[in-house]
């Protein structure tokens, strides 16, 4: 029963493909998979917007939206209708073609990232040998779309937002990539399916997730920080800081194009959360072996939703960084730590398994963290803010 439920979507996909001639079946199989992704994740996006607003409200002791439908859950429908029926205003001086194409490029690049994510057992659109590289290649393409949007609007806020976004995304992409490379080193493969398989064994009912190793823990923390910056989420939402830049690079977008940017941002959040779960939290594998009977895709979605909750929680807590703090943190703290993490991952690979290995690696990383944090805080690179008042 449960094993059937586990593979229900795969069976469904093949059942649909069974209606067409054999020569067309690969195309139809792929199409059904694509439709699945294009339907499920935007639906999740719609749900997330209302959960985010309600959650942020609760964090601020408010109620959040509760007017449209039961408990306000039809709010995204109302928002969607509003976005669709709104006038699409394009600035007179804008570069019309680039202005039109950039939300499309962004959304396509973001959707492509989902292609390699193993959503469940046997549930990935393509199992590429270089899947992780593909994911990061698509993430890199979205930077260009952001730049195109900002540049083509002919608006200073848009351009500033785009410059900030690109600078930030390039800086944090290095950290994102290098913290994932540790996992690749350990697995010996760039294929996300193989990475999940490597983590889905159990000792005493507990999984072999990489987050339970010292390098995995630090790697995950760095990955989470970089992912937050990569998706322009608070506290790294400088590119769209509404107090400074109106809406950043999509200031000049309205109606459905605005909705596309909005959706791309949330979908990027899902995919980066999904990748994080895949790399450090065993993808679709269950947290304890006793719960393995629960369908794998439920675990994946649950892990993504937990990550989204943390995203919202962080957004409700932390104030926005300043540009120099952002860059200092990336290049002077996170990047050296990531490189050290990479070396420790190598050390872990060549030490004998056991408690000693764990303690040594953890001590190195914790020591480095404490040391770098102390030095950085003393030099006021980051840490508590100092204030200067006008005379």
């Amino acid at each position: 029963m449960f094993s059937k439920l586990d593979q229900i979507f795969v069976v469904l996909q093949h059942w649909v493909a069974g209606f067409v001639p054999v020569s067309l079946q690969p195309i139809v199989l792929a199409l059904v998979g694509v439709v699945g992704i294009v339907v499920v994740f935007p639906a999740l996006f719609a749900l997330t917007t209302v959960f985010e607003r309600k959650g942020l409200g609760r964090i601020q002791n408010r109620l959040g939206p509760n007017r449209v439908g039961p408990f306000g859950f039809f709010q995204p429908v109302a928002d969607g209708i509003k976005a669709l029926t709104k006038e699409d205003v394009v600035p007179f001086n804008a570069d019309h073609f680039v202005h039109f194409i950039s939300p499309v490029v962004l959304l396509v690049a973001v959707f492509m990232g989902f292609a390699v994510l193993p959503v469940g057992r046997n549930m990935q659109l393509v199992d590429l040998d270089a899947g992780l590289l593909f994911y990061f290649a698509m993430g890199a393409s979205s930077e260009l779309a952001v730049f195109m949007a900002g540049w083509s609007s002919r608006n200073k806020y848009s351009l500033l937002g785009a410059m900030r976004a690109v600078a930030q995304m390039i800086s944090y992409e290095v950290i994102l990539l290098l913290s994932s490379v540790a996992v690749v080193m350990m697995t010996g493969s760039l294929s996300l399916v193989k990475i999940v398989e490597a983590q889905s064994q159990y000792t005493w009912g507990l999984p072999h997730w990489y987050v339970f190793t010292p390098w995995g823990l630090l790697g995950f923390i760095l990955y989470a920080i970089a992912a937050t910056a990569e998706t322009n989420r608070s506290p790294f939402d400088l590119p769209e800081g509404e107090s400074e830049l109106v809406a950043g690079y999509f200031t000049e977008y309205s109606g459905f194009k605005f909705a596309m940017f909005f959706m791309a941002e949330y979908l990027a959040m899902f995919s980066v959360a999904g990748l994080g779960a895949t790399l450090f939290f065993g993808g679709w594998s269950a947290p304890v072996s006793a719960l393995s009977f629960v369908p794998s895709w439920i675990w994946f979605i649950a892990k993504v939703m937990v990550a989204i909750f943390v995203f919202i929680w962080v957004r409700g807590t932390l104030p926005r960084l300043r540009q120099d703090q952002l860059m200092n943190f990336a290049w002077k703290f996170a990047l050296p730590l990531t490189l050290l993490n990479l070396m420790v991952a190598g050390l872990w690979r060549f030490m004998n398994p056991g408690v000693v290995r764990w303690v040594v690696c953890f001590a190195i990383l914790a020591g480095a963290y404490v040391l770098m944090a102390r030095v950085g805080m003393k030099r006021e690179k980051f840490g508590p803010r100092s204030y200067r008042y006008a005379e």
Binding site: I59, R62, W313, V370
Partner: protein
């Protein structure tokens, strides 16, 4: 330690998040159309005209002296005096406002009209749902829409209304006593004059101060 503050902040927001589900005191939001908080007694939104008695038209305290019209900073009051006099609820002949309009969209709720009114005829309302779908006519309220009974005034500003009523009663009593004294004096004078030579100078003399401050005779200021 780097990151300590972040964890503290996260704990605080988590406490808010879960606390808002548990304790009702945290959620201070008033869900307005369904839930309302009673208006504060000293709230002021928009002026209204007070009338005494049952008939709004007869009982308007306003005598169209136009002080408020002149004092109104944004000039949103429009008054036209009546040509003829009309008995008010007490039966006294008064000028009354043939037209008394206030433009809601211009009014800035400064309460100056209330402060300058010598007759306690205009007061501030606490009603705030003044939105209308008619941009022009709907926002220009005429005297019928502005008129509210003294009982309504008591219901929204009980303390202030009691003071006003006491003051009015006092003035009325004073005026009545004065009028009585004047009448007695007039009567005495008339009697004296009648004794000397019968002329009709007495009646204009008593009428002139009444038309000069006519309302002090009628209602008292």
């Amino acid at each position: 330690m780097l990151g300590e503050g972040i964890i503290k902040g996260m704990a605080e927001t988590a406490r808010n998040f879960f606390g808002s589900f548990v304790s009702k005191e945290r959620l201070i939001t008033v869900e307005y159309p369904e839930q309302r908080i009673p208006t504060f007694e000293n709230a002021r939104v928009f002026p209204f005209l007070v009338y005494d008695g049952a008939d709004w038209e007869a009982g308007l305290r306003c005598v169209a002296c136009q002080i408020c019209e002149k004092e109104c900073p944004p000039k949103c009051i429009y008054i036209e005096k009546s040509k003829e006099k009309k008995p008010d609820y007490a039966g006294k002949l008064q000028i009354y406002p043939a037209k008394f309009d206030i433009d809601v969209s211009v009014c800035m709720s400064c309460q100056i009209c209330v402060e300058v009114c010598p007759f306690e005829a205009i007061k501030m309302n606490t009603e705030f749902e003044l939105a209308t779908d008619d941009r022009f006519g709907g926002l220009l309220l005429d005297r019928q829409k502005l008129a509210r009974s003294n009982e309504y005034y008591h219901s929204i500003h009980p303390t202030e209304a009691a003071e006003v009523d006491a003051r009015l009663a006092e003035e009325k009593a004073k005026v009545e006593a004065k009028a009585k004294a004047a009448a007695e004096a007039a009567a005495a004078k008339a009697a004296a004059a009648a004794q000397a030579k019968p002329t009709d100078t007495a009646s204009p003399k008593t009428d002139t101060p009444k038309s000069g401050t006519p309302q002090s005779g009628g209602e008292g200021a």
